[in-house]
Subunit: 359 residues, 3 copies
């Protein structure tokens, strides 16, 4: 993908997840976001920046350069760029050419998440990046990682918005019995910019990750609440001993997993998946957060295998329509929102043809 056609292929003029604050170390980080090849970095004064990853002189990636106190120095001829992308030092000459600058993007930190504004030329952010309070909530502890996908971003959202796959893909961790998921009670609601899928699995056998993390007595009332917000999903899942509280009590107790799922297109056909999982450690259990995070990582790697294989196969069989099932209601609503924002009718984000014979 060329740099210039990126805007129209994805929902623009919004904050996207660029990574996590702990990814900015003493070396610059190369990362492509929505078709823009960028270098992300933090200088020793604490300021963070996102610049186009191309020196304006001989085009070396700036990500091969070195961090200085107030900027980033190119690794070929030593041009020094400040946080705004302006060259402030050039080798062998006192006067710096006026054109010696690279494009800068607005990069911000909030609740340990890096957010970047990707917009049309001249469109500045009019809102703050989204908050995500669980990363700073003392009742929770969390961990996470950044995964790279050889698949388009919308396939990751499809996966998150239809958790009926848990019984087939994640049997060893958060899945458990397939029949439990096939009989889940599902409610889908949506507005112009978000989709909400609520799944209840009352009186069900807790899956392996749950029993390892929490001393359940027997069966659990289990819930999954998925909120799709274009740039990311927030997923609240958990379980409690059967009958102790209502599944729609917002203050319900039991075992909680709060998932943050930043899904950012890299190119049309590849994506970043920036995830964390926060949990509420049980006082009688040790190292539960580590266990939950490592089992979540294993679970998400299972998804990655499936989704990348799915994408490879979609390329093997181009122009085929898909059969629509009831479980597709949530993903389909999200796809409509994405399509509308892109103004696109491309197959990549097209809604599957519904099978009328089943209606």
């Amino acid at each position: 993908m060329s740099d210039t056609d990126a805007i129209t292929d994805f929902p623009a003029n919004r904050w996207w997840v660029a990574g996590f604050d702990w990814e900015l170390t003493d070396k610059p980080l190369a990362r492509t976001l929505l078709g823009h090849r960028l270098v992300l970095f933090r200088t020793s004064d604490g300021a963070v920046s996102a610049l186009e990853d191309r020196c304006c002189h001989k085009e070396l990636p700036l990500s091969l350069g070195t961090l200085e106190q107030h900027g980033l120095r190119c690794g070929y001829h030593g041009l020094l760029f400040n946080h705004g992308g302006q060259c402030i030092e050039a080798p062998g000459q006192a006067r710096i050419p006026g054109r010696a600058r690279v494009r800068a993007f607005d990069l911000r930190e909030r609740n340990h998440i890096l957010w970047i504004w990707i917009g049309a030329e001249g469109v500045q952010p009019d809102i703050e990046p989204p908050a995500y309070a669980f990363h700073d909530d003392p009742a929770y502890s969390y961990g996470g990682d950044s995964f790279h996908y050889d698949a388009p971003w919308h396939l990751i959202h499809d996966n998150l918005l239809d958790l009926s796959h848990l019984g087939y893909v994640h049997v060893k961790t958060i899945g458990g019995n397939a029949a439990v998921h096939m009989n889940a009670q599902v409610q889908v609601s949506a507005d112009e910019r978000s989709v909400r899928v609520v799944r209840w699995l009352p009186d069900s056998v807790p899956p392996p990750t749950y029993t390892a993390a929490w001393p359940f007595k027997a069966n659990v009332d289990r819930w999954q609440e998925i909120d799709f917000k274009i740039s990311h999903c927030e997923i609240w899942t958990g379980g409690m001993d059967v009958g102790t509280q209502s599944l729609d009590d917002p203050g319900r107790h039991g075992f909680h997993m709060r998932g943050f799922h930043g899904v950012t297109p890299e190119t049309l056909h590849t994506a970043h998946y920036f995830w964390t999982v926060a949990t509420n450690p049980h006082p009688d259990k040790q190292n539960i957060t580590d266990l939950v995070v490592s089992q979540t990582a294993a679970t998400f790697l299972e998804d990655k295998v499936i989704i990348e294989a799915q994408w490879q196969n979609q390329q093997r069989f181009p122009s085929r329509s898909q059969v629509y099932l009831n479980i597709d209601a949530g993903p389909t609503r999200a796809r409509r929102i994405i399509d509308q924002l892109c103004g696109s009718t491309s197959r990549l984000t097209a809604e599957p043809v519904e099978d009328r014979s089943t209606m």
Copy 2:
């Protein structure tokens, strides 16, 4: 290659080799044959199937699924498909959409070979797959393997139909002295659907594999009979002590190697090579079959190196004509048959221009 254009690029409406019966285990097998990406499997009731390797729901390869007693279950959302490709179970809904089915191909076993019918839409097989009795003949024991080639299928037939290369490519095993092969007595005959090449190497030094496998007294009368049958070649080679029997005696004794060579296009530019070699163990020699099979495998890997390098080079030098030699008579006849069946005038299967200056 897309799925839909496969028919016209290869000889259609016939049985092709899909593999060997021992390749169907407790896991489904992904294999692309004549441009069709398929999943091959055997259920516990013994029945074998070939389905299009794409779930009709979200397009995951079915080869990532799991085998059940009566079908194959998709690894993403659990749709279950029977041997005919019909979905017989879908998650979260009792009524299965009518369009929930995948294309099925006719797959059969005969003499431990898997044969698949690849035909135009609606053209059903009107004959049984070919027999190959040596796999079930107690006088012979055999072994073999499935090789993948990064080269078009017709280059493998070229190689099989002109064994003059043995003296250069296979010096260490079945080749032996190059001069022996250059002076071979060769007869080529053909009809509309087959080519036969017979090479006699009377009173010649037996090559390494022969002397390891059989207690020859000295020189041998050696033969090579190659039968090209479009989807495969059958090659009967062997040797006997000089003068003991006529080289055209169909019941002649001595050391025998019966080769089955299934050559099936994967795509226009890649191929499968399904081979076995059967031999008649000498009562005084132990483990001769293992020796012959392992030396044959080594020999065929030598061919693979040559043929893949040849194909890489043909791509480096496109649109070049080849010089014709007398040894090309057999391959050229086979190429004419293939061309006629494809109705193709593409260079890939074009006959080399004969060099008139040599006539």
Copy 3:
């Protein structure tokens, strides 16, 4: 790149470096030069040859064949080719087809360098390949290597003609203090076929490679003289104790490094870099040549990392203009010569737009 369009993409009708004489061993060598896939070899009689790397029969690379006393034998069916590319033996037939020949190129050795004439059809060399006396000068000893670049050839010349990068890319070896290079005295001169860049770094701290190789007293008067000659650069660098001789004295003493840099396009986007470095060992220092050669190799691998990353980035950001700095004077003059010889206006060899705001 196809074989036939190679001529117009590069400066033609001239000698190019094909490698070094020590690269021709008892096996043929496959090498692509200016888009021509060739096999280079030396027979036991000492003669060297460059043939098109394609047997005219079945198109196997001849580089997979075997060397005989008077020629090269194909590894598939044994056709034997002489130094002129004529087939002189064919399997199974006494009469050799007249068309059985492959294209031969004029390959010559001079001062241990292999030179090949790449010209339009029928244009024969009218001059000898260039001499390079330092390879046969007893005052010097040398070593070198052949590197492959995933980058176009002109980027290597850019690098050689602007040594201001030494202070950023080669800090550990020949670079040293960046400020020294930023304040270098530079003179650029050029004619129609060559460019000369002279850099003086008087009274400067000698870099690590210099102090390891020569017992300097303290600071040195250091020089770099770069001669671009289209097919190669010759670079004379060195240093002497401050004030001992003039920096323009052609017979000046001190530490010398004489670099030969053959830069030959492989394809439009890849290149060969054939380099040697010759030095004058100090009588009090042991194994200085080995040290200088190994540090030079390390230095050139640093350049390779930078140049290949630069090229990858230029492909990520197509059609962008570069900012011009004063240090680009030498490379820009060389680029003009290349452009003129190619008759090309392609971006690959286009001169960067000068930034008028700095003038």
